[in-house]
Amino acid sequence: MSATPVLRVSALTKRFHGVIALDQVYLDVHAGEIVALIGPSGCGKSTLLRCLTWLEQPDDGFIEVAGKPLGRELTPGGVVRHQSRRQIDALRPQVGIVFQQFNLWPHMTALENVVRPQTVVLGRPRAEAIRRGEELLTRLGLADRMDRHPHALSGGQKQRVAIARALAMDPALMLFDEPTSALDPELVGEVLAVLRSLAEIGMTMLVVTHEIGFAANVADRIAFMDQGRILEEGPARDIIAAPKEPRLRNFIDLVMANRRHDNPGTTIDTTE
């Protein structure tokens, strides 16, 4: 693809007290793509997401969002320049993130959760922000929940408010951290439907998940991560059907075995 990728990660490295969490990660995500990032727990998936929002500062490497460097840039002279908090904050709305625990603001209604960042960060007039918030919440099926506070919403509803809050900033890219893990298993289908609906409007997404079935169902491409490195990536179907990397094969076998144990009814649908 010749177009500038929405997200370009190059040689991203992060250490925690000398222990390597991300080891030279390279990843491109193109416009309209859904990429699932899978891998065993502790492999660095969540750390990567946190670095992409600069909640965690990578030690090395570069992140580009829609062609613009985030956090750190290489000047034409070859010098690495660190951006100020203000510069980073200016780019942050471009990367929407939906956290595992949603992290809504409990003292605001669902609508206010979506409206407030628009007015504060983007400087949007309140009336316009409210219009946008209502439109997004309605589209996500929360028209009758707008005036509720987060504690009066179910897990799935909170997640959709969190999605609306991120979407309202008009991000170029949406990140999802384990979108199915904090929800009841029967809601997984619902999350899938929401992500698919976002895909239909052309949203670019990077989804971290340990659920292979979910990844296979939702993603165009799957990237497999282990010990801080992306070991294999490719079209979702190929990755599941013909994994090359032995560690990926092990991971898939392991997950499939567990899956058959836990809920024999679930099968992976790779036909789509």
């Binding site: 929002t53 942050r92 709305p93 956290f99 625990q101 603001w105 003292h107 504060v120 900033m169």
Partner: protein, 219 residues
């Protein structure tokens, strides 16, 4: 000399008039304590080791010494270092400084109960630090510490009586003046106690109303 209700009733108007001084000072002190306590909390949250060490010394001084001594220091010692304050200003400064520390300590306790995830979400959305404090952290913090603030307000109101010793003509000093003129300390002290009791009952009740109102609007 027995207790005379009509004497008590006859001095109440003067005591209530003097209560305006205590109420005015208490309001100023609480506003100052809230503003300074919030500022102190934010400074402490920056976690600059040297600054926090200094603050810790100040806090242990304020917590470990009697408020009355702190008031005396503000009124009698500060002039020695060139800070000559009027009785009211010295008194308000001393109590506000004392109260600031308690406000900040309870805010720090409340801060620990606010989920870091919310702050991370705010950061990821691009909210600048001051907006995170103003829109996300402080509104929740204040709601959480309403009971502590109400308690602190009643302590401040009682503390204003101590200013009578540095010549502020408040309820207590007025009562003392009446007592020494009439030789009736019984009624005057009961009268001044009643005035404080009523003020603090009003504060506690309105605090309870505020608490229940906040409780409906919080997680």
């Amino acid at each position: 000399m027995g207790f005379k209700l009509d004497f008590l009733l006859s001095i109440l108007p003067r005591l209530i008039g003097a209560a305006a001084v205590n109420i005015r000072l208490a309001v100023i002190i609480m506003l100052l304590a809230l503003a300074l306590g919030t500022a102190l909390t934010i400074v402490r949250s920056l976690k600059v080791a040297a600054v926090n060490a200094c603050i810790a010394v100040v806090i242990s001084f304020v917590r470990g010494t009697p408020l009355l001594i702190q008031i005396f220091i503000a009124y009698y010692v500060l002039p020695a270092v060139g800070l000559d304050l009027s009785p009211e200003v010295a008194g308000v400064s001393a109590i506000a400084f004392n109260s600031m520390v308690f406000v900040s300590e309870s805010m720090r306790g409340g801060l620990a109960t606010i989920d870091v995830g919310q702050i991370e979400a705010s950061t990821a959305l691009g909210l600048p630090p001051h907006a995170i404090w103003l829109r996300v952290v402080l509104p929740q913090l204040f709601r959480r510490i309403v009971p502590v603030l109400i308690n602190e307000a009643t302590i401040v109101v009682k503390g204003t009586a101590l200013l009578s010793v540095i010549t502020v003509v408040d309820v207590l000093r007025t009562a003392q003046q009446i007592a020494s003129a009439s030789y009736r300390p019984f009624e005057t002290m009961i009268g001044s106690a009643l005035v404080f009791l009523v003020i603090n009952l009003v504060i506690s009740l309105s605090g309870r109303v505020a608490e229940s109102r906040f409780a409906t609007a919080r997680a």
